[in-house]
Symmetry: C2
Subunit: 553 residues, 2 copies
Amino acid sequence: MPTDIEIARQATLIPITDVAKNAGVPDEALIPYGKYKAKVDTSHLPDRPAGKLILVTAINPTPAGEGKTTTSVGLSDALHRIGKKTMLCLREPSLGPCFGMKGGGAGGGKSQVMPMDEINLHFTGDFHAITSAHNLLAAMIDNQIYWGNPNDIDIRRVVWKRVLDMNDRALRQIVGPLGGVANGFPRESGFDITVASEIMAILCLASDLADLQKRLGDIIIGYNRKREPVYCRDIKADSAMTVLLKDAILPNLVQTLENNPAFLHGGPFANIAHGCNSVIATNTAMKMADYTVTEAGFGADLGAEKFMDIKCRLAGLKPDAIVIVATVRALKMNGGVAKNDLGTPNADAVRAGAVNLKRHIENLKKFGVTPTVAINHFHLDTDEEIAVIQEMAAEFGTDAVICKHWADGSAGAEELARIVAAKADAGAPEFNQLYPDDMSLADKIRTVGREIYRADEVHIAAPLVKQLEQWEQMGYGKFPVCMAKTQYSFTTDPGRLGAPTGHEVEVNEVRLSAGAGFVVAVCGGIMTMPGLPKVPSAENIYLDENGQIEGLF
Amino acid sequence: MPTDIEIARQATLIPITDVAKNAGVPDEALIPYGKYKAKVDTSHLPDRPAGKLILVTAINPTPAGEGKTTTSVGLSDALHRIGKKTMLCLREPSLGPCFGMKGGGAGGGKSQVMPMDEINLHFTGDFHAITSAHNLLAAMIDNQIYWGNPNDIDIRRVVWKRVLDMNDRALRQIVGPLGGVANGFPRESGFDITVASEIMAILCLASDLADLQKRLGDIIIGYNRKREPVYCRDIKADSAMTVLLKDAILPNLVQTLENNPAFLHGGPFANIAHGCNSVIATNTAMKMADYTVTEAGFGADLGAEKFMDIKCRLAGLKPDAIVIVATVRALKMNGGVAKNDLGTPNADAVRAGAVNLKRHIENLKKFGVTPTVAINHFHLDTDEEIAVIQEMAAEFGTDAVICKHWADGSAGAEELARIVAAKADAGAPEFNQLYPDDMSLADKIRTVGREIYRADEVHIAAPLVKQLEQWEQMGYGKFPVCMAKTQYSFTTDPGRLGAPTGHEVEVNEVRLSAGAGFVVAVCGGIMTMPGLPKVPSAENIYLDENGQIEGLF
């Protein structure tokens, strides 16, 4: 079987100018970055009623893989195949992790977005721009402290760290500036990876440049000696940061292996942020196409919940249809089968593991949308195993469709496309968020914990409750909550697969993202600066004699 | 009088595809970045005999300004005007300093390269790529120490720091990683600004990707417990770093206000590095055009000396003609006039200050090239003042040409263009470097100090001499030396203008740039991470209601 990279190299890309033309992007709106990437200047797009929005989510991820991005690409290509004007919207990948574990890429098999190598390296520079804007604010904070500290910033309470798009554990916790008077006042600080920057979340939630600048200004960089918040706009950094981000805010156009258009734009962490591509890309896509296929990070308990409670709430969107991706192999793992035994047919294990899928479907129905199940097919799947999933979907009055886009491209996802298009056309009139804006922040956290994670209890220690109440008094009470929890389980224990019950959720920490517009509830250890493994994949990444990149995928 | 930015905004740019066509760049070699910037894939250029190389240098800079870049642009436009096929090669500016002092831009008046704002912001991402490659190596060093330290790196002797393209004094000296076992082994470290990275110097001296990777591998990242060097290739980072730099190595094409082509590529510090645009850009330009106009950083004592002793030596180049830029105002300052009195006619002060210009001319003749003086005209200059300069030039058998390109564009530099083209055609057959490869490193430093700075004595303390000898034993003896000294004076004291005598040069430190291929001799305090001023220009940089950037220039 050919590898993803072999398939990608056999692909014939068309010039991005042709991709744009096919997608209805006028010439004057296209800003090319090389021959196969472009930014789209959204101010030059014709006004058009918004099309339908289709969310692709998944069961809890396992090492067996569920193929959420692959299915998003396959579904989008299949919608094109059946004659539907469609746009695909995905997140752009982060550079740093490419040098850690072998990885990167967007999609797989015959359902990929191209050009893989450029997308995984510097792409159009969006993440570099975010890194610059983030670190400009950091430099201006220390500079203000250095030059007399007019905002009386408490150097023990600066919460704005620095960022790099690199897996570099040595930067997690540092002390500086050292070296005496000329360098400034020593304090504890550290670096996060760029995707964890609040600016990434802001860029992905901003409706336009003016909104971007307002949100940047709203960032709380720390507290003064009276414990009052100090904002980015007090540092006077928000306008220069906006200048640094003026191109990064424009969506990036690329193509699938079948030469259909795709926006890849923004990539916020799916734990301490909301894990969806930018609102601007989604809105632009919906104006350009009748169907927009988009994806949310992690499993439906995190990604889909945040998509609806954060992104849709803040941007006034709603999904017209939802696809939940599952694989026979991943359900078997949820049913207790070890990774090495996944090749053995085992319908009972699929049935046992399908409780995970079942609970996600129940959860999604709480938002008023019954999802369609996409069974991302693997060649060892048996009819009996697939029948188990289809039986279960029927219980919910929905479909579980076998999809072979990995092997066959759009032809393999035609049935899914027809069913989903029909459902999207019918719409999801009952759509509602899980909690209202005016519920207390603590109760919002408890609601997600009980309704989605099915915890018996959600513990929020008294000091954290007090902190949440203080933020409510400061005017942040209407914010949605952003849960930071392991992606591997409904619980906070990554080892508990399936549909666990009898568990409790402990909130360890709460953080205010005042610019992005949400409150983060951290449940369990969340790493915002990854490290490199013992043998980083960087050691095996190189240019071959033809100038092609090897080892990146 | 209109400001630079007003003139720039009135300019009519032509599409970069047209600029490329006019310059003879075939379609398949052009990689557009937006509508007005592109990279040129040098492998797709037709082979053609190399044209003539014209170096633009200057007297020692003063706050009055000498206009070296402006003159480079004006001369290139004027060569086009008189029908000469010409390419302009300049350095690309650094992002960080734009947020400190009001500044940025490339050229001025009617002699500018465009688009100013994009060039000064992220441009085509070259500096971001260098930042990524530099910090990948840093992360891999700490990662190797973390995972058992197979190269036995002495954590007290890691010389590879991290970089950001930001003026951030708080990062100059830090201690980390802190936080215990999971984060690594604490050590002292710090950040430089990206232009000070050895990778910047390497990118600008590499002949191609293979040479780039070899030089990256040659970088010394520190020393082991036996005090032996540990190389980048021991960390196995060189190939992944090359992948990160594969686009950054390609020259960037932009245009002047008169729509003539210009390469802006690379921007190494002119103190701890050699301060010239990339060898690849220069070589490519010389293959494309009959005349290539390029520039060296700082005054001729630093920039031109390094251009010839480092860049030309390592790349096998030689200048066919040299232009030295001077202004009446700057010579007056060299003659002792205060900045506020520069508007008063004072031919005697010009004569007194012209000793600075005279010494630079004498120095350049030591390389076998008699420079042409370009008098960058200011509207308050008097005929008498100008006559002083012309008289002095005549002493050396050369011309001092009045140039009004700032006010009039190419029309104002036609005479300069005719004279310089004729000199370049005649060539500089006597060209030679200041010292041979096989002179000892200490003697190379002494030679530059005596011959160029005219110091009576060059002090190199015994431990530094020993260090230089050790490097010679390690095989680095044939390297040229790169002097890091104030740009404002021939001496190491920035306050001593004119042509000082009776001074001594003290070498404070020597550094080995084993990948770039030179030894740095630091004379005086050299800052490799600038700070921001009390009121950073970032506070006044913003997007206006038309989306235009204000405050950047």
